[in-house]
Structure formats: structure tokens, C-alpha cells
Amino acid sequence: MMNQQSIRNSSSRKTQFAIRFLRALTRIKMATPIVSSVQSRKKCSRRIKRAADTSMAATIGSRRSWGRAILLKHRKQVRNRVLMRQKVVGDNNKGNKTRKIKVVNKEEKQINKARKIDSSKGVQGSVNRANKLRKLVPGGDAMDFCSLLEETAHYIKSLNTQVQLMQKIADIYET
């Protein structure tokens, strides 16, 4: 029964991811009607990659820390882009701007603190490799060793699904 449930979950997750990702692709296509130069092509594929990552994270929801980390990072990027735009426009809400930057710094400090605490634990010999893994799994910096392993397993499964579905979508587009 447990198994059946997980199969159903995974297929509905796939559909959810596909719907989100396709919606994002349509948006990207509207924003860049003709991709011509190498630079704009690179920019477009970066956007697609980000859309795929955030679509998967949004599908997973806030149940997993790696998903939360991706969404948080994405929100920060959007916020920064908005700030940049405000800067270009040159309006004078400077106080608002510095406050937001302070919030970002605080978040980073908390992550660093978590890492420091964790480095005292961990299994000998594997610590270096675990630290490499931390850099690859979103939000891995702030995890203790057990959560890191658990989150990694889940992240790999989701990444696999993501790759499969992107492949499928590309194949269908091609025909």
C-alpha cells in the first residue's frame, strides 16, 4: 500500500512539474521571440535551467530543505533584479534598499553558523567528501550529516525525474 501511494505521488508530481515547466517555457518564449546571438542564446538556456530547477522545487514544496533552498535563492535573485531595476530608474527609496540587503546578510550568517557547529561532528575521513556534497546539494551548507544524506537521496531522485521529463519534452518538441 505504501508503495502504491508513492507511485501515485510520483506520477502526480511529474505532471505538476511538467505543467509548471511548460508554463515557464511559454513565458520564456514570449519574452525572447527570436534567439539569435550566442549571448542571448546562453541567457535563454540559463533561464530554462532556472525554470526547470524552480519548477521541481515548487513541486516538491517546502517539505524538503533542498527545495526550500532553491526557492529562497530564486526569490533572492528576483529581489536583486528588482533592486537593480530600481537603481537604474534611480528613484530615492534608499532606506528600503539597505534594509533588504541587511536581511540577506543575516541569512548568510545563520548558514555559516550552522556549518561551524556541524564541522565538529561527522564521520572521520568522509568529512571532506561530505563538504563537497554540501556544495552540490542546494542548502547543503546548513545541514547536519544525517539530513545531508537524506536530502541528497531525495534530491538525486528528483533531479533524475527532472532530466527524464526535460528529455521527454525536448523529444516531443522535435517531432
Binding site: S11, K14, T15, A18, I19, L22, L25, T26, I28, K29, T32, I34, V35, R41, C44, S45, R46, I48, K49, A52, D53, S65, A114, K121, V123, G125, S126, R129, A130, K132, L133, L136, V137, A142, M143, D144, F145, C146, S147, L149, E150, T152, A153, Y155, I156, K157, L159, N160, Q162, V163, L165, M166, Q167, K168, I169, A170, I172, Y173, E174
Partner: protein
């Protein structure tokens, strides 16, 4: 029911009591997800070290990231060349089957 609850709460609270068994279980679960090490499991049951599993995990995640990059590039090409609006329905249909 209550055991599942306690599992999820352990995972969300940063402080967990790490036991050797727990880590071994997690490492084995991770190992079964890796194409490189999935099959070595049967022949040499406990010869794959945790550090090897971690190493292979890193490699595998990197290769998946590369695949995502490549597919993003491919989709960029396809978005600009093909008519993608008709394909949406086909994609959803193929997923539901």
C-alpha cells in the same frame, strides 16, 4: 503513525542524534540510487566504503547537472525553431499514460 511523525520532525530540527546504524542505512540507500554502485551491492556486500559512496554521489549529481545544462541548451534551440504550442497537450497526455 507516530513513528513517521517523529521521523519527519527529527529531519527538520537541525540537531539530531547520529547513530552509526542510522548513517549506514542512509549510505546504503544512497548507494542504491547510484548507477555506478547499484550493482556492486550483490557481489561484495559491504566492501563499498562510505567515502566511496559519497564520492560517487558527487560525480553522479555533477553528471545530472550537466545533463540539465545540455537539455536547457537543446530546449533553447527547439523553442526558437519549432512550434511548441501544439506540443503542450501531447506532453501532458504522454505523462498521464
Amino acid at each position: 503513525m507516530s513513528s513517521r511523525r517523529s521521523r519527519s520532525s527529527r529531519q527538520s530540527s537541525g540537531v539530531s542524534r547520529i547513530s552509526e546504524d542510522q548513517i549506514n542505512d542512509l549510505v546504503i540507500r544512497l548507494q542504491q540510487l547510484l548507477p555506478e554502485l547499484r550493482n556492486t551491492n550483490n557481489r561484495t556486500s559491504d566492501k563499498v566504503s562510505a567515502s566511496r559512496v559519497l564520492q560517487e554521489t558527487c560525480n553522479y549529481i555533477k553528471s545530472l547537472h550537466r545533463e540539465v545544462d545540455d537539455l536547457s541548451e537543446r530546449l533553447t534551440e527547439l523553442l526558437s525553431t519549432s512550434d511548441t504550442s501544439n506540443a503542450q497537450a501531447a506532453i501532458i497526455r504522454s505523462l498521464l499514460m
